[in-house]
Symmetry: none
Subunit: 230 residues, 2 copies
DNA sequence: CAGGGATGTAACCGATTTGTAACCCAGCGC
DNA sequence: GCGCTGGGTTACAAATCGGTTACATCCCTG
């Protein structure tokens, strides 16, 4: 399941160039304005943001500060691309939690490689698992294996919990059964893909009729934790 | 429906040789001048460009830069063929986003194989996970299985979605019924070609009267998602 | 080794999706 | 006008998909 990368870069030529390179390996969406990027970050659920610090409508670093203030931008890893290296800039960037920092001119393959690294570190070593998370009235705290739905305590069995956690961490995205099998059950699992259905059924029941609806079935594809329409 | 490959090669003997080999597997168009190639790339909507870097009227790499500047040239994958390997040339080529790089002399079957690889990677990667796409007010995000037409949410059934996605990805090009059957329904499908008509009908209905019009019937040929006037 | 919880599997059944056939209209050549 | 072809639309039936339950396992713990 390819990762989704969002590119924010004011210069359209550069934007196309970056996007083309990243598209060789990731699913890429791009835009040239900070406010578009906020919108797309919210709508598109990217896994990573590549941010040029010189964007027309807002300084890159201010943008980052704004992004960090939003709930969806909180956990989003960012790689910054700056026109030059300044002590202050680098410091500021790392302060705001960027994962990596590239200075122009750079080898595009290096960018792709760094994206790969950040994504792997973030999502494949399970490092992002563990932080408490709250979406649409459902809260989980993996550290304590606790879950609440609309304020009420819900007890989940281990597999139900792991399933819910993945669904919530990738909220809005459709996760296929094979993907869920691989991530929740582990690659060595021999379980049938129907096992996922059964577990989803149990999870829904445990969450109750209301919160259970958030776990949406996407016909012929898989499942998705979806917030209600706004 | 076979892939369409455009060959740009200055030397006419070489051009014929390349084209003949590629024609065993693809639909090939070829030309010997950069400006012809730009024209053909625009008109013919090829899926892949095989580019000899030594073209009479323009250095291959400059050509590539120009091509990347055009709207139809961004997404077009390119395989470069160079007379010799120079560090600088290779780097420059990859900078401009070529997918692959071959140095003469080479085995023509290798070229065909690489074309196949690039095309597969580019067009046949995961079925439902492509990047978001927005044309003429219709937006789809395969990763989230969402579709909007003129700002309004549209719910599509799996086949309808897959059909719309192909039509949009190849917007402006006429797709035949057999092609759609093969790509959307899958090779093993036994469905009748009329099934496509019915699905198109359902898709149009779902998109609504206005957006539905974008899916055009091309008599005796097939269907086409009309892109905005250029 | 018994008991209990967790979870995979199989079976059943209702819901959804989709192919087919039938009917209709429009365009066209005679 | 008539017959023919191509395509839109609809209704219906078949196939597929997915929810749920019951039951068999497996793995603990005691």
């Amino acid at each position: 399941m390819p990762y989704r990368v969002l590119v924010l870069e004011g210069d359209s030529e550069q934007r196309v160039w970056l996007s083309d390179w990243l598209a060789k390996e990731f699913v890429v969406d791009s835009c040239g304005l900070a406010r578009e990027a906020l919108e797309k970050a919210k709508q598109g659920k990217p896994d990573l943001l590549v941010l040029a610090v010189d964007v027309p409508d807002m300084p890159g670093m201010s943008f980052l500060a704004v992004l960090r203030d939003t709930d969806y931008g909180h956990g989003l890893p960012v790689i910054a691309v700056a026109p030059e290296r300044t002590e202050e800039g680098v410091l500021r960037a790392f302060d705001l939690g960027v994962e990596d920092y590239l200075v122009r001119p750079f080898d595009p393959r290096e960018l792709v490689a760094r994206c790969r690294t950040v994504l792997r570190r973030r999502y494949e070593r399970g490092e992002y698992l563990g932080a408490p998370l709250s979406i649409a009235g459902v809260e989980i705290d993996p550290g304590q294996r606790r879950c609440q739905a609309r304020g009420k305590r819900v007890t989940l069995r281990p597999r139900e919990f792991a399933l819910l956690e993945i669904l919530m961490r990738k909220a809005g995205r459709v996760l296929t059964r094979p993907y869920l099998l691989e991530t929740v059950w582990g690659m060595s699992s021999t379980a049938d893909t129907r096992a996922v259905d059964v577990m989803v059924s149990r999870l829904r029941k445990a969450l109750g009729p209301e919160a259970g609806k958030l776990v949406e079935t996407v016909s012929k594809l898989g499942y998705c934790f979806r917030e209600p329409e706004t």
